[in-house]
Symmetry: C2
Subunit: 346 residues, 2 copies
């Protein structure tokens, strides 16, 4: 099985490479603790190995979450090493949710490769996700002192919010976009994506024993960053280039996702008066119908409204960094990272 290596852009912030180099051995050692059959699925999913067990040079993801964890420890004036169980644990929860999401959504492609359930079966993908979920908690509960406990509690709370957001997302697929509403959509996105990035952005500070004000400022940075990131993801889910996103054209429309551009366009009188409601309600849209729907979402302001939302939350994320006494070098890197992840093409 061949895979397409997708190196991070040369313009990517240096912290991504730095965090990945630090967290990779921690993650690999943790995953090596799993049952061999479960480990095989996890290592394939993580992009470390091919299905036959040979080493892979696949896309392993950008590693935004470990980078956020690292910088949050440094922002609190600590060494980055203290963040590693946190960065690894958040990355494990993120990957557990991807493994299960791909089963639930019936997705066949992830990071330009066949999804784990299509290769190993539904049961194997479910149990591998469960194993990563448990492993994340084990890593944090092995950190001595009250910091490990606080970090585990923060992770459980974020995971719970993420699950509620996913449940909303699933429920919304069956609902009419007007019934979901802009507010419902934004709340769903804050939970689905914001909560876990808020956790990633504060867990290093928690593990470093930082004061509540620093933890809260970093948490808010991550929450807004997550919302901005999700808005950009929504744009890519409709107008993204499949060669870069690794997903089919207009994948969110095929799946009846009530993402922000859809809900925003249908909230306008032009959107309601157009053929959008009929197109989006259709059980199946051919390529022409998908292109027509995407054009209408744009002309009815769905794209513009989503861009504005992405910008507004990016500003709020950066503003949050000013609300506590944080180490300047880390703030600069957090700013660069926020601009990078909300201005991406994949």
């Amino acid at each position: 099985m061949s895979s397409t290596p997708a190196p991070v852009s040369r313009l990517a912030p240096a912290v991504l490479d730095r965090a990945r180099d630090l967290v990779a051995p921690v993650l690999r050692k943790a995953v090596a603790r799993l049952h061999p059959e479960v480990r095989r699925v996890a290592e394939y999913h993580m992009g470390w190995r091919e299905a036959d067990g040979s080493p892979a040079s696949a896309d392993t993801g950008k590693g935004v979450r470990p980078a956020l964890a690292l910088l949050s420890a440094e922002a609190a004036g600590a060494g980055g090493a203290v963040s590693l169980p946190g960065g690894a644990a958040v990355e494990l929860v993120h990957n557990f949710s991807l493994l299960h999401d791909d089963v639930m959504d019936g997705d066949h492609q992830r990071r330009h490769r066949a999804t784990a359930w299509t290769v190993f079966g539904v049961g194997a993908a479910i149990i591998a996700g469960d194993a990563l979920h448990t492993l994340a908690h084990q890593l944090l509960l092995e950190v001595p002192g009250k910091e490990g406990r606080r970090a585990a509690a923060a992770l459980a709370q974020a995971t719970s919010a993420m699950i509620a957001g996913q449940a909303d997302d699933m429920a919304f697929e069956a609902e009419d976009a007007a019934a979901v509403g802009l507010e419902g959509c934004l709340a769903m996105e804050a939970a689905k994506t914001g909560a876990i990035l808020a956790c990633a952005s504060s867990i290093g500070a928690i593990l470093a024993g930082a004061p509540p004000a620093a933890v809260e400022a970093l948490h808010d940075y991550g929450l807004h960053l997550g919302q901005s990131f999700q808005a950009v993801d929504d744009l890519l889910g409709i107008w993204g280039d499949p060669a870069r996103t690794g997903k089919p054209v207009a994948s969110d429309l095929r799946q009846h996702k009530k993402s922000l551009p859809v809900v925003a366009a249908l909230a306008t009188p032009e959107g309601q008066a157009s053929e959008l409601p009929r197109l989006l309600a259709a059980d199946h849209l051919d390529e022409e119908g998908l292109a027509r729907a995407a054009d209408l979402l744009d002309s009815c302001g769905g794209r513009q409204r989503t861009l504005e939302e992405a910008g507004r939350h990016l500003d709020a994320a950066l503003a949050a960094l000013g609300r506590a006494d944080l180490a300047e070098a880390a703030v600069v890197e957090l700013t660069t990272l926020a601009r990078f992840v909300t201005d991406r093409e994949r």
Copy 2:
């Protein structure tokens, strides 16, 4: 949708009712924190509600795990109330694993009702399991002090072992019984069932801040109890009465489970020389073939060997209780409970 109430036998130990009365409000309050769509699935699965949301009088399970947690706190000389987050958390993990197992095994019936995935869909059952898994950790991490942290670490460790046991169980289904071997089968059963009962049997003591010797003795009691319980479950999976087990006749044989009676019978020269290997390797067995296989498993000693294993582990469980200074009344109840759960017909 109608359901068959299955009240616990009049001969059931009083501690089951006592623990259920104490833990039920804690569990219901915890599950009420979930997203409404997720909660609906969880409450159906737990036997509290019908699929349409109306109150159910369904079998909610015997509640062995909360009873073990309660008695372990009392054995350590504490009041039972301290065990409640532990009993509830273990019960949540148990139910998360049942929800996912039913999807992975494609089972249609659980406790005489349609399984959650057949009613709400695979995605809904997966996410409900994930939510219960996270909720279990939240309950323990909300317990103040180092006891909550230790209990959470014990639960994560037991969950990890349970998942490894399930992975073995799944892998064994595709393997030849001779390749699995008696030792492999026993290790799988200790992990799959023993680890979580060991956790249930010690988590109350952990939450009560009991000394390590008491926690270890109770842990060993639960581990052996789990192994004895699993041996009995293996007997029921082949020779159990469907009206009582709520599963089809010889359900484990239909599923090619390498359970103890199967592995033990095939480890004998008579078993190898009989038509058992051919029968058990068949993709599909009709009712006559299933009955023939069950008879041969019996005549080749698989049933007797499993009964002996159940007895041996019950003895070891009771012996473990003598290895620490535990409150006598609780030890009497733990003894009664162990005899009850390993001498069951459903």
